[in-house]
């Protein structure tokens, strides 16, 4: 499967490595070429410098052929806009969007975007670890 990953921070780079090792074709987009250093020397995919909400950049990264798109920049709104472009304009089948703000995450989940909120997930893990019990 071909996947386009927007944002080459810790999560983006780790995900790109995992997908690559699992045999998928990976394209990574970031605004800064320095970020691609996180990918390490074994990375087999392609990298693109550019703004992820620019259609031309997404096309260059191969979004037309992509079956999956992951938006993991550190900007919630950038992730939201890029994911909607991937989903609504380019009809990418699987689009996953990271949103730090829990309220915004809830809004866009209700709107039909597949989202996850590291703030909630992380807090829950910490809570469970500290109290030693599962709390919902």
């Amino acid at each position: 499967m071909k996947i386009v990953i927007l944002g080459c921070g810790r999560v983006g780079a780790t995900l790109a490595g995992m997908m690559g090792r699992a045999g998928h074709t990976v394209s990574v987009i970031d605004q800064s070429s320095d970020a691609f250093q996180r990918l390490g020397p074994d990375f087999q995919g392609t990298t693109f410098v550019g703004n992820g909400v620019d259609e031309d950049v997404l096309v260059r990264a191969g979004i037309r052929e992509a079956e999956a798109f992951a938006a993991v920049t550190n900007g919630d709104n950038r992730n939201i806009m890029a994911s909607q472009i991937a989903k609504e304009i380019f009809k990418v089948k699987k689009v996953v969007c990271r949103i730090y703000d829990p309220i915004r995450e809830e809004t866009y989940r209700e709107l039909g975007l597949e989202t996850f909120c590291p703030t909630i997930v992380g807090s829950q893990i910490m809570f469970d670890a500290i109290t030693g019990k599962k709390q919902k």
């Binding site: 259609e55 919630d76 709104n77 806009m81 915004r104 809004t107």
Partner: protein, 220 residues
């Protein structure tokens, strides 16, 4: 009307002043503390420190009773989210977004934003209109109706020179609404004769734009 504006840059500032002047209830949201301080000195309670992208802020300012939400920050993704959240979460009737990248117009439209305004594009066409060589300028688009207002400077070698409008066959989708000759407006009738260097203003749809261009012999 209760109007919430996101983004206290120059656009947000002048827009707020203008709308207040017209008697509207306006609230400007600016997240930067130093910019907020400057704005609040002049605008007082009409400006609030907060991020219009944050649902919590929008809740606080009573977004659910807003008639219009306008997003004029310098980032298109922020403007998109401000308008979408206003529309979906707070059921705001009308949302208007500033576009920094004119290419985003289609995307915003598809994603449900009511109106987009692109200063970059407007500035480009205004400058184009002032260039001496310009013969054809798109002045304004009425997106929802698929119409635009265009300006044509009639070339000296145009096939329509010295012809009356009644003798020019244009389809219903190309409406000549105004002729400016030597700085004087002429509201055209069937008898109006076209002259070289007239400025023609026409209300057209997409096909009409092409038709006008061809009829007047204007090559881009």
């Amino acid at each position: 009307m209760y109007i919430i504006i996101g983004g206290g840059g120059d656009v947000g500032y002048y827009l707020t002043k203008n709308l207040l002047h017209h008697g509207h209830e306006v609230l400007l949201l600016e997240k930067g503390s130093s910019r907020y301080a400057t704005l609040s000195e002049e605008l007082g309670p009409a400006v609030l420190r907060g991020d219009a992208c944050e649902a919590r802020t929008m809740e606080e300012v009573g977004a659910n009773r807003a008639d219009v939400v306008i997003a004029v920050t310098g980032d298109d993704e922020d403007n998109l989210v401000i308008c979408q959240v206003a529309k979906k979460r707070y059921k705001v009737n009308r949302t208007i977004a500033r576009l920094n990248n004119p290419k985003h117009a289609d995307i915003f439209y598809k994603l449900g934003i009511d109106v987009t305004v692109s200063p970059t594009k407007s500035i480009l066409s205004l400058i184009e209109a002032e260039l001496p060589s310009s013969r054809f300028v798109q002045l304004m688009t009425l997106k929802s109706a698929g119409l635009e207002i265009v300006e044509v400077r009639v070339p000296t070698d145009s096939p329509l020179v010295s012809k009356a409008l009644r003798d020019i066959s244009l389809s219903r989708s190309s409406n000549i609404v105004l002729v400016i000759r030597d700085k004087q407006p002429i509201f055209p009738s069937a008898e109006t004769e076209i002259q070289a260097n007239d400025d023609i203003y026409a209300l057209v749809n997409r096909e009409g734009e092409e038709e006008i261009r061809k009829a007047f012999g204007v090559i881009e």
